[in-house]
C-alpha cells in the first residue's frame, strides 16, 4: 500500500527537504508541513472509508496534478517578490488554442506545443510589463488576466468545441494498469512529477534559481552585485506562464474539448498551495517541494472532506482557514528566527 503513497508524493519534495535556502532551520519548517500532510492523510484514512485505497489515491493524485503544476509556476513569481493573477486565463487560452490548432489539422503534439508557447508568451508579456513599465506585478498580471480571458472568449465566441479524439490521450490514458483495483497512473501525474523534478532542480541548483531567490530577498543588493534582474524576472514569469499552459492543455485533453470559460480563479488555488507550502509573499522564500506539499494538502482536504460528506462550500471554509493558519505559523516562526 505504501507504494502508492510514494508515487503520489513526487520525489521532488524529497529534494526540497534539505534546506531550500541552505539552512537547517528552514528545512525544519518544510518538515512540519510534510508532517501536517501525513497527519491529514492518516486522519482521513482512519475516518473515511475507501479513502486509503489505491483507486482513491490515484484519483487524488490526478486531481491534484493540475493545481500542483500551477502552484510550482506561481512559486517562481512569488519568490521574486511578485505574483501572477493571470494563470486562470492562461489556462483557458492555451488549452483552447491547442484544441483549435488540432481541429485545424495540426498534429496533436504540434498543437500542444503551440498551446504551451502561447502560455510562455503571456508570461513573457507579464514580465516585460513589470520590468519595462515598472508596474506592480499585481496590476500587470491583473490586466493580463482580463486581456487573455477577453481574447479567448472573443476568438471562440465563448463556445466550447470538441477536440479530435487523439487529443484526449494525454489527459485520460494511464500507465501500469493492472486491474480494476489499480487502474494505472494517469499521464498528468507523471507530467506533474517531471515538472516538479525539473523546476525543483532548476530553482535549487542553477544560477538562475539562485538569482530568483536573491532578487526576492534584496533586489537592490542583487542589482548592485551585477545580477541581471530584468532577465531573471522574465524567466520567472515565463515559467509561470508555461506551467499555466501545461495545466490548460492537460485540462482540455481530459475534457477533449476547448474550455474558454475554464480556469476561472485557478490562480488563487495555485497561490494558496504555494503559500501553504511556505512561500513568502514578501519574496525570497519558497520552494518547489513546498508548493507540491501545499497542493496536496489542498487536494487531500478536498477529497477527504467530500468523502465525509462535507459540501464544496464547507471545503472552501476549511481550505481558507488552512491558508490563514499556515501563514500565521510561518510568520511567528520566522520572527522568532530573526530575533535570535
Amino acid at each position: 500500500m505504501s507504494n502508492e503513497l510514494q508515487m503520489v508524493a513526487p520525489p521532488a519534495f524529497k529534494g526540497g527537504l534539505p534546506a531550500g535556502l541552505g539552512t537547517k532551520k528552514l528545512s525544519m519548517d518544510k518538515l512540519m508541513i510534510f508532517v501536517a500532510f501525513v497527519a491529514l492523510f492518516i486522519i482521513f484514512s482512519l475516518t473515511a472509508r475507501n479513502f486509503f485505497t489505491a483507486r482513491n489515491v490515484l484519483t487524488l493524485a490526478l486531481q491534484t496534478s493540475t493545481i500542483t503544476i500551477m502552484g510550482i509556476g506561481v512559486t517562481f513569481t512569488i519568490i521574486t517578490g511578485g505574483i501572477d493573477l493571470s494563470i486562470g486565463s492562461i489556462v483557458a487560452l492555451s488549452g483552447t488554442l491547442a484544441v483549435m490548432a488540432a481541429n485545424a489539422g495540426a498534429p496533436i503534439w504540434l498543437s500542444m506545443v503551440l498551446g504551451l508557447l502561447s502560455g510562455v508568451l503571456c508570461g513573457l508579456l507579464n514580465g516585460v510589463i513589470i520590468t519595462g513599465l515598472k508596474l506592480p506585478p499585481f496590476i500587470a498580471t491583473l490586466g493580463m488576466m482580463m486581456v487573455a480571458r477577453g481574447v479567448v472568449l472573443t476568438i471562440t465566441n465563448a463556445m466550447s468545441k470538441p477536440a479530435p479524439e487523439a487529443f484526449g490521450h494525454l489527459g485520460n490514458d494511464t500507465l501500469f494498469r493492472f486491474s480494476r483495483q489499480f487502474p494505472g497512473i494517469a499521464y498528468p501525474v507523471f507530467i506533474m512529477i517531471i515538472t516538479a523534478i525539473v523546476f525543483g532542480f532548476f530553482l535549487r541548483k542553477t544560477r538562475m534559481g539562485r538569482y530568483t531567490y536573491a532578487i526576492g530577498s534584496n533586489e537592490e543588493a542583487s542589482r548592485l552585485s551585477g545580477i541581471k534582474v530584468t532577465r531573471v524576472k522574465l524567466v520567472a514569469y515565463m515559467i509561470c506562464g508555461f506551467c499555466a499552459a501545461l495545466t490548460g492543455i492537460i485540462l482540455a485533453s481530459r475534457m477533449v474539448t476547448s474550455q474558454p470559460n475554464g480556469g476561472i480563479s485557478y490562480e488563487l488555488n495555485a497561490i494558496a498551495a504555494s503559500v501553504i507550502g511556505g512561500t513568502s509573499l514578501m519574496g525570497g522564500i519558497g520552494t518547489v517541494g513546498g508548493a507540491v506539499i501545499g497542493s496536496f494538502i489542498i487536494g487531500v482536504l478536498g477529497v477527504g472532506l467530500t468523502m465525509q460528506g462535507a459540501s464544496y462550500f464547507v471545503q472552501q471554509i476549511v481550505i481558507g482557514l488552512v491558508v490563514i493558519a499556515s501563514v500565521a505559523v510561518d510568520q511567528i516562526r520566522y520572527k522568532k528566527k530573526l530575533v535570535q
Binding site: 539552512t23 536573491a214 530577498s217 522564500i285 528566527k337 530573526l338
Partner: protein, 506 residues
C-alpha cells in the same frame, strides 16, 4: 536676560556597549536659537530624543519652565509644548495641508464628524501667523520640499509648542528654500519660541544662531554666545580628541601606477565636474558633509546611477559603464553604506551571499551550482577574513554588524575586484570590529587593490588614507595629502568655507 525655558543638568544615557551621553548640560532661553553641534556619535540625537520623550535618561534632571519633568513618551512631551521636527518629514503626502497639521486631533462637529471648515480656517490662521503663503486645502505632495517643511513647523506650533527642536532641517533644501526657512525661524524667535537647531552645516549657523553648545563623544564641551566664538574654535572643540591607537599601522604603499582615472564626472544637480585619480595600492578617502554627494559619486562610478557627462578610465583604457554589472566586470566593487538594504540578501545564507556577485565561479556545466565549490570558497573567506559564524550556511541576518560587513567584503574579494569603494565601512560596527575592518582595508591595499573610502568620521579618514578628496555640495573642493592635513582643514573645505574665502578675495 530672557527667561530660561529649559535646563538640562547632568543627563546621562547608556546603550549596550555605548555611553551615548555622559552628564551633559544644556540650556535654552525663551526667544533664542541655540545650535547644538558635534560629530556623529557626539550624542546630539540622543539628547533630542530624551527631550522629546522617546528615550528616558538614566540619570540627571530636566527642568522645563521651572519644573522638573519626566516624560514617559513622545505624546507627553508634545502635550507639554516640546515639538520636534525630524530630518525626515513625518507627513502624509496624499492629505491636504490642513489635514496634515491636525492629523489625529481633527476638530469635530457636535455630530462627531470632522469639521473641515473649522480645520481649514484654523490652519489658514496658523499659516498666516507664520507669514506663510500656503493654501491649507492643497494636497501636501503638490508643495515643494521646503514648503512641506514649513507645514511640519506649522504642525508643531499648532500644538502650542514653546520649544521647537529642528534636526538637520536644511539637509534636503536648496539655497533659496533655506533662506525661506530662516525667515520663518526668525519670526518664531521673535514670538518667544525657543529653538534648538542641530546641523552639520556649520557655515549656515551664522545666519540664525544666538548661542552654540558643543558636544563631543557624549560629553558636554562648551556653550558660548555665537558672536564670542570663532569657527576655528568651534571645530577644535568638536574634534578635540587625540588619535590614539584606533588604527592599525600602515601597511600599504601606493605605487605610482594609475589604476582608475575619473574625469569630469557630472550628474545634473548632484555632481559637478569631479576629476581624480586612484593609484594602485592607495587608500583614497572621500570626506564631506551629509548631502555633499559622496555616496552619489561612488554610485556614479559604479554605474548604479546614471551620469550626465564625464568618463572613467581603468589602466588607461576608457570604460563603458552603464550598470553595476559593467562596473563589476571591470573589477570595480561598491560596498554600500546601507549594508542591509543594498549589500546583503539577509534572508539568505552566508555562503550564498559570498558567491552572489560571482556565482558562475562555483558553477559547473549547464549553470548548475556546485554546493561543494561554493562551501569551499566560503570557507576560504570565512578563514581569511575571520568571519565569526556558527556555520557556513548561517542566515546573514543573524550575524553581527561587523561580520556582515566582512561578508560583503568577501563577496567582492571573491569577484577579484581591483577597486573597492567602501561607503562608511564602519557605520554601526562596534570598536573592536572596526579595527578588524581597518586592518582588512590596509591589507587589501598592500596587495595592490585600490581602495576608495567614504567616511563621515574624520579620524577614520586621517588614520587610514593616503589622500583625501573633500566634497561640498557636489563639487570637489580639495584634494589633500593626508599626512599634511588636519581635521580642521578638511572641515573647512567640507563646509565650503574655502569657496567662500575664494569668493571674498575676488
Amino acid at each position: 536676560m530672557a527667561e530660561t525655558l529649559l535646563q538640562v543638568q547632568d543627563v546621562s544615557k547608556g546603550f549596550p556597549g555605548v555611553q551615548a551621553l555622559d552628564k551633559v548640560q544644556f540650556e535654552l532661553r525663551r526667544g533664542e536659537v541655540h545650535a547644538l553641534v558635534g560629530e556623529n556619535g557626539a550624542g546630539k540625537s540622543t539628547l533630542m530624543k530624551i527631550l522629546s520623550g522617546v528615550y528616558r535618561p538614566d540619570a540627571g534632571t530636566i527642568i522645563y519652565k521651572g519644573k522638573a519633568v519626566h516624560f514617559q513618551n513622545s505624546r507627553e512631551a508634545a502635550a507639554a509644548g516640546i515639538g520636534i521636527i525630524y530630518q525626515e518629514l513625518n507627513l502624509v503626502p496624499h492629505l491636504t495641508v490642513a489635514q496634515n497639521i491636525y492629523i489625529g486631533r481633527e476638530p469635530r462637529t457636535w455630530l462627531g464628524y470632522i469639521d473641515d471648515r473649522k480645520m481649514n480656517v484654523d490652519a489658514a490662521a496658523l499659516l498666516a501667523k507664520l507669514n506663510l503663503n500656503i493654501d491649507p486645502t492643497i494636497r501636501l505632495n503638490q508643495l515643494s520640499v521646503s514648503k512641506q517643511q514649513m507645514v511640519e513647523i506649522a504642525k508643531a506650533l499648532s500644538k502650542d509648542s514653546e520649544i521647537l527642536i529642528m534636526d538637520e532641517p536644511t539637509s534636503a533644501l536648496t539655497e533659496s528654500e533655506i533662506d525661506e526657512l530662516f525667515k520663518v525661524i526668525h519670526g518664531l524667535r521673535d514670538r518667544g519660541v525657543g529653538i534648538i537647531y542641530i546641523s552639520h552645516r556649520l557655515d549656515e549657523l551664522k545666519h540664525i544662531v544666538d548661542r552654540i553648545t558643543i558636544f563631543r563623544d557624549g560629553h558636554y564641551i562648551a556653550t558660548s554666545d555665537y558672536n564670542a566664538i570663532t569657527m576655528e574654535e568651534i571645530i577644535n572643540k568638536m574634534v578635540g580628541r587625540k588619535l590614539e591607537n584606533l588604527f592599525p599601522p600602515r601597511q600599504n604603499v601606493p605605487t605610482g601606477k594609475k589604476l582608475l582615472e575619473v574625469k569630469h564626472i557630472t550628474r545634473t544637480g548632484i555632481l559637478k565636474d569631479i576629476s581624480f585619480d586612484l593609484f594602485e595600492g592607495e587608500i583614497l578617502g572621500i570626506a564631506g558633509l551629509m548631502g555633499a554627494g559622496r555616496s552619489e559619486l561612488a554610485r556614479a562610478i559604479f554605474g548604479a546611477d546614471p551620469i550626465t557627462s564625464g568618463e572613467i578610465l581603468r589602466d588607461g583604457r576608457k570604460l563603458d559603464i552603464r550598470s553595476p554589472a559593467d562596473a563589476i566586470r571591470h573589477g570595480i566593487a561598491y560596498l554600500s553604506e546601507n549594508r542591509k538594504e543594498e549589500g546583503l540578501a539577509i534572508k539568505m545564507a552566508l555562503n550564498m551571499n559570498v558567491t552572489m556577485a560571482n556565482v558562475p565561479q562555483v558553477s559547473r556545466r549547464f549553470a548548475i551550482i556546485s554546493r561543494n565549490q561554493e562551501l569551499q570558497a566560503t570557507r576560504t573567506y570565512v578563514d581569511e577574513l575571520d568571519i565569526r559564524t556558527p556555520s557556513l550556511e548561517q542566515l546573514v541576518n543573524n550575524l553581527s554588524g561587523g561580520n556582515q560587513q566582512k561578508v560583503v567584503v568577501a563577496k567582492w574579494l571573491f569577484r577579484d575586484s581591483r577597486i573597492l569603494i567602501f561607503d562608511e565601512p564602519t557605520r554601526g560596527i562596534d570598536v573592536g570590529a572596526k579595527y578588524a575592518i581597518y586592518e582588512l582595508i590596509g591589507k587589501l591595499a598592500r596587495e595592490g587593490v585600490g581602495v576608495i573610502m567614504i567616511s563621515s568620521e574624520l579620524p577614520e579618514i586621517l588614520g587610514m588614507t593616503d589622500r583625501v578628496l573633500v566634497l561640498h555640495e557636489g563639487r570637489l573642493t580639495a584634494t589633500l595629502q593626508t599626512r599634511a592635513t588636519s581635521q580642521e582643514e578638511i572641515l573647512n573645505h567640507a563646509a565650503g568655507l574655502s569657496l567662500e574665502a575664494a569668493a571674498d578675495q575676488n
